[in-house]
Symmetry: C2
Subunit: 837 residues, 2 copies
């Protein structure tokens, strides 16, 4: 039919006359905005505040997105290209308006239009609430990948949960502690989602599973919950593709219990409501720590079941045999969180679709791909067998069946190697027994990858070593993470993006989609006029951040200082502690100086941002100490214009967009071997902030690309970690002996210089005793690295600028476009599918 359809109903001309294009003239845009003010919001110019104007502008942009969204989805439906689905329990999207305008190429027109209507577009952009449906890197990576998928014109959908409460808002109590407040981000209408009341699936929990032979079973009873789809359009940059992120909301299947209500039992009358709706109530605020909560397991199962039902409904439309399922569908498991999708697909195929077990297993393993995000033992998901049995009785049967066939294969390969069987079993013995989700994800997938070279290496060598032996090396690969240069350069640092465009003489629509073209900057590092422009942009970004800090925190920082930024979840392995102890050391050092000596010092502003999981005592204690050290330094007149420490509360994507372009140096100082990749390291370097870090995660590859001259490395290497920990445990040496500088710092804390010493003693003890994260081992070299930073910054500013230019020019590899194309080509086997309009 040549793509042309017979008109479905009514008069084709009448329909077509009403179909909207995307308005591009300023007057059409102002009309569209005024329409939404007047009609959708039922407001008028008289009573319109920034929030109202933001909503009207957002609704207008939403209409624009939907034009392309409709077209994209229709063309996918007609042509049925193979699709990939990215299952992630977190999507840390941040704000949408600015990104949508840039990706649509309409920002200038909307700027003019809003100005004509009496508003400033940047203020409206700032009125938007972040969609904080993620904890940190894993969730933000998912958001970058969706952006790249759409930009690379790939048929890629995301599936997640529509949490009613995003990651908590962080406040700082008077004593410096973190306080958590709920983030009810949906309380105001969210223009960036399309409710799909007609796309719903039933999901079962609990009940009883009865085996009926041939590997099949019947699962009945229990609780049924309704999954309702909400679609979030994901626009590609400068393409017609607008992909979809489908988020599931949980609704009660029957709802309100009128009988209980009439009997006066209000609580009971909404019990099923609550029980269902609680499923998507909250994003679990946790990071790199396994949660053993039933509700979390139910979230995972709910999301996987709804997503698979949706994927299968779509597959059935092409009317192909099940054997071809994986020719139409690839599913990426972002970490082990969606691993329950593996037994769920088996359940659907075997129990509901009558596919023989072996065929079903073949289809399943061809469909899934698994990304590991951590080798930290405390973060590896394990679910208690009794819990799974209670919540998902049929899935437990399937897991046992999968395990049995798998272990039989292991036995055939290595007969009688009982240790190996025990090591590789999906079921970990103990009380209770536990299901090792990473193993299930591994054997259920075609490929398994880590997220940076070192991390992928560690995955192969440590937690999945036996599986590499069994499956062979080719199944275990690496895809180094990336970041989208649209948000993390063009959007957050428009001056730099414009300068780059002018300099490399490529349109943004070209170089922002092929980031290796940044290479074109390299020769200009030698051009002093260019360097001046470059440095001025950094200076202005620092001024912008200084203004933000002044306005929001009342702290004055001097943009002439070196801006040293560390933003990420607060975690012992990330070692904000090391940075903090280094600051105290610097403080003590400066205090010991004469006034003349102090004058020579490179003034530094150290900025922290990040949230601690509410239940993570030590991380919260570290925040408290950071805040109180910052206050002590702020209160000390000797430190004025020499050292300032700022803790920026409520770190978010939007805040990162202000902080990152303003950095001179950023810190990524995890204990070697603990940070899988990191992605903020990439964002900083892409914005001309140099890297101060350990030889860990993607730091290593960044250094490989930008040249290690342009990176400040320090600390022990991964290979040394195990031995050092062994030494700490069995041959401890006192801190005073190993690092007198650090010992002096600890003594100040213990002496009460930053408030009640007893409060911080548990933190100091983690350093003094055990020191699992090797702060004592790395402290001296960390201090040394900081000196090198100071020297480089102060002694030869031109050289520093050169370093930053060279760094940016060599960051091409770290575009998430490169990463997503690797997944597309080497994993999912999907093709670019440009949308014609």
């Amino acid at each position: 039919k040549d793509g042309k359809e017979i008109w479905p109903r009514g008069d084709e001309k009448t329909w077509k006359a009403g179909i909207r294009g995307i308005p591009t003239s300023v007057s059409d845009i102002t009309n569209a905005i005024v329409y939404h003010v007047q009609s959708t919001l039922a407001r008028q110019a008289y009573n319109l505040d920034n929030m109202g104007a933001y909503q009207a502008v957002a609704l207008s942009v939403r209409d624009d997105l939907i034009v392309k969204w409709n077209e994209t989805q229709m063309q996918y439906t007609r042509k049925q290209p193979k699709r990939a689905y990215y299952l992630s329990l977190e999507f840390l999207m941040g704000r949408t308006l600015d990104n949508a305008l840039l990706n649509l190429g309409l920002k200038q027109q909307y700027k003019t239009a809003t100005h004509k209507l009496g508003f400033n577009l940047e203020d409206l952009i700032d009125s938007e609430r972040d969609a904080a449906l993620g904890n940190g890197g894993l969730g933000r990576l998912a958001a970058c990948y969706l952006d790249s998928g759409a930009t690379m014109e790939l048929p890629l959908w995301g599936y997640g949960l529509r949490y009613h409460y995003g990651l908590f808002s962080q406040h700082i109590a008077p004593d410096g502690s973190q306080l958590e407040a709920p983030d009810p981000w949906l309380d105001t209408d969210n223009p960036w989602e399309i409710p799909r009341q007609d796309v719903t699936y039933d999901v079962r929990f609990y009940g009883h599973a009865e085996r009926i032979g041939n590997g099949k079973a019947v699962w009945t009873g229990g609780q049924e919950v309704l999954a309702v789809a909400y679609d979030v359009p994901i626009p590609g940059y400068s393409t017609n593709t607008v992909n979809n992120l489908r988020l599931w909301d949980a609704k009660p299947k029957r709802g309100f219990d009128l009988n209980s209500f009439n009997a006066g039992d209000y609580d009971r009358s909404i019990q099923e409501n609550s029980s269902a709706e609680t499923l998507t109530r909250v994003l679990y605020p946790n990071d790199n720590h396994m949660l053993g909560k039933e509700l979390r397991l139910k979230q995972q199962a709910f999301w996987c079941a709804a997503s698979l039902s949706d994927i299968i409904r779509r597959f059935k439309q092409v009317e192909k045999p099940w054997a071809e399922f994986s020719d139409y569908v690839s599913i990426q498991l972002n970490d082990t969180h969606p691993t329950i999708a593996i037994p769920e697909l088996m359940r659907i195929l075997v129990d509901e679709e009558d596919v023989p077990w072996a065929d079903a297993w073949d289809i399943t393993t061809k469909t899934f791909f698994y990304t590991n995000h951590t080798v930290l033992p405390e973060a590896l998901e394990k679910w208690a067998v009794p819990l799974i049995e209670h919540v998902l009785p049929r899935h437990l049967q399937i897991i046992y069946d999968i395990n049995m066939s798998f272990l039989q294969a292991v036995e055939r390969k290595w007969p009688n190697d009982r240790d190996r069987l025990a090591r590789m079993s999906l079921i970990q013995e103990g009380e209770p027994k536990q299901v090792r989700m990473a193993f299930l994800a591994t054997i259920g997938s075609t490929k398994v990858n880590g997220v940076a070279e070192l991390h992928s290496h560690l995955v192969r060598e440590t937690i999945l070593r036996d599986f590499v032996d069994f499956f062979g090396k080719s199944k275990f690969v690496n895809v180094t993470n990336g970041v989208t240069p649209r948000r993390w350069l063009d959007q957050c640092n428009p001056s730099l993006s414009n300068l780059i465009t002018d300099t490399i003489q490529k349109p943004k629509a070209v170089w922002l989609k092929d980031l290796t073209l940044l290479k074109g900057l390299e020769p200009f590092a030698e051009d002093p006029i260019f360097r001046k422009k470059w440095a001025l942009i950094k200076h202005n970004n620092k001024k912008h951040l200084a203004d933000y800090i002044k306005t929001h925190l009342g702290i004055t920082v001097n943009p002439a200082s070196l801006f040293d930024i560390m933003i990420k979840r607060i975690h012992e392995y990330k070692r904000q502690s090391l940075n903090l102890l280094g600051i105290i050391h610097r403080y003590l050092t400066i205090k010991a100086m004469t006034a003349a000596e102090r004058k020579k010092i490179n003034p530094r502003v150290v900025i922290f941002g990040g949230k601690a999981a509410p239940g993570y005592f030590m991380a919260k204690l570290i925040i408290r100490l950071i805040v109180n050290v910052a206050r002590a330094i702020d209160a000390d007149p000797d430190m004025k214009d020499i050292l300032t420490v700022v803790f920026v509360p409520d770190y978010s994507v939007s805040l990162a967009e202000i902080l990152i372009p303003a950095s001179d140096v950023s810190q990524h100082i995890s204990t070697a071997g603990t940070e899988a990749s990191g992605t903020s390291n990439m964002k900083f370097c892409l914005n001309g902030g140099l890297l101060l870090g350990t030889v860990d995660g993607a730091n290593i590859e960044i250094a490989e690309e930008v040249d290690s001259n342009n990176v400040f490395f320090f600390g022990h290497l991964t290979d040394a970690v195990e031995d050092l920990r062994h030494q700490h445990k069995y041959h401890p040496i006192a801190v005073d002996e190993r690092s007198p500088a650090l010992a002096a710092v600890l003594k100040e804390i213990e002496g009460g210089r930053f408030g009640d010493a007893s409060v911080y003693q548990p933190f100091v003890d983690t350093i003094r005793t055990g020191d699992y994260y090797l702060v004592t081992d790395d402290f001296d070299s960390y201090v040394e690295a900081n000196k090198m930073v100071d020297d480089a910054y102060v002694k030869d500013p031109e050289e520093w600028t050169k370093k930053t230019i060279l760094t940016v020019s060599r960051m091409g590899k770290f575009s998430s476009d490169r990463a997503i194309m690797t997944y597309a080509e080497e994993f999912w086997n999907i093709e670019q599918f440009p949308i014609k309009m």
Copy 2:
């Protein structure tokens, strides 16, 4: 400034260019609909069902309404006419789309537009879900009054609650019983409301009230709940006025408790959510029965507090002294449900605005007006003092203070009349003490009215007799209810409306706003050609109903039969029982006939519709018996085409719109003195259905208007009721003696003819013993009246048609326009305020 404002912000021309008018050409309308399909719904012609098309059309009409809504509200704000506010706990709106199209005068254009897009407008209209935010007459009256207020161009707003669940859906179980299912009418998006996230008020419950002298107090602690406004546009018929119905939704003030959640206590984490949201969760399914539930009291207080805060915020914009409050504001209390607004206004004035007590009382009593809706003792609201003390401690203090001043005045007037003081006190002694809300409403209001002549008379003579003595007669008046002829004639019976228009030679825009012009039909009663047209319309309406019954219930009814309809809440006082027992009597009579005799019988279809309150055992039993009698008759081949009984489940406004135009006769047969007015009697007569009724409520005034020749009256009069009840109680006579016909009927029930006799025994016992509603007393005359109906229908069809024409022509008085203008002129002192566009 001549009404012309200085442009508020941005470029005036740009704004004005974008301001939308109301499209009236078919092509503009199709464009608007297609826009909503494509953009708002993100759907396409390919996947659009009737529900989707309905939503798109509704959104387009919503846009049209908002054009006028915006203009109306702006002109009110600019010119500040005195406004009236109608506080009703129920607004039984029914569907909106059809009504909005008719009131905007755009139905024909939308019919053509939807046809061009491949849809049938009537099907789309049928896709809409009823807004069933009311139980029965009281709620529907409120809806009619809003329609009339807008049509009469009065500055009148409604205030109510946004119940998430409307009145339950009624299903019939296999055994014939009523089953109740929740009505989650907001589960699909509701295009007829505008959320106002920016219009919110805090409402307090519980806590502690501390007196601080001068009648003032400070109320602190307890629970605070957020009231959020949702606006429902109320278009006038053929005017520019679009008034507002503001419904309050309850939201938690703080919301989700993250700490509890993190501690794993999910139930507790949403406790405040649930507790707040439960407030507007459900409309209490009850009718003419006082509810003593804490939640109901909280609903009332929440709604009154939010509404008063909103009214006061608006008053403050005019910057006038408090003494002038009632020059800007009148508030009508629809029944006692909003009576707590009286102490609430006192609280705001005295505690928050520092108005001296006496002045505050003066302002308050000038502001409020109270409509009484019942003299049934079981329906008179009384709240236990300890409950009010717990939930609204400050209001209880104020009620006590009001009571004290009031009783002092009584004492001054009638010194030492202690019985009188006890009778008139707001506080009824007992365990527990109770607050008599009708008394509080009476002393807090300027005028008190009943809703029909007889009822107003009974109010003055019975429950408020002492208050008439105290305040004088002029305070206690009558406003007979009315119904809007737009919905209840033009919309539900378009053929009849068109015939009337052609006949009386007045445009609809004239006669539908001045219903006395129906008088012009009277001469045509003598015109046989006109009568033929008239009768044909009735016949077609009956065919339409017959189709509905066939399609939905699978029952065949012959449109040539007499259609006898009784639709209203199921209640003993309304005496569906009498109708039912009469049917059984008719059945037995026919069974006793020869085939030849049966041939002469006027075939009759008796249709029941109505819901019983879920907790009202006897009403539910009556439904069960109706259903089983209907089944027995349906199963009896002797009854074919002679007698059919239909119980139409899930009675609603929309169903009434199908039933009423199809009636030949309708029954309004309450025990004399119990039905305050009735309004369906007016609707039936307006559509040419004759009235079979008791001398009760508005039946009396209808008969006065249409001539009692055209009404079938029967039964004892109000004056006799008290004596009859006394006789029943103290000098009972067996049914067999008093009405052998009825006794025979009861015996059939007890003999198991309609199923297990023991099930129905409690019902039969209410007739045999006590017979509070006088079924035995009225049975014989009821049977006689039915014979007269049959005779009149069969013997002279032309005469019957004349009766129906004369009836319609004389129904002018019963327009709700007349009623609302009485309120406007004689109560509220507000003026018509036409909106210029």
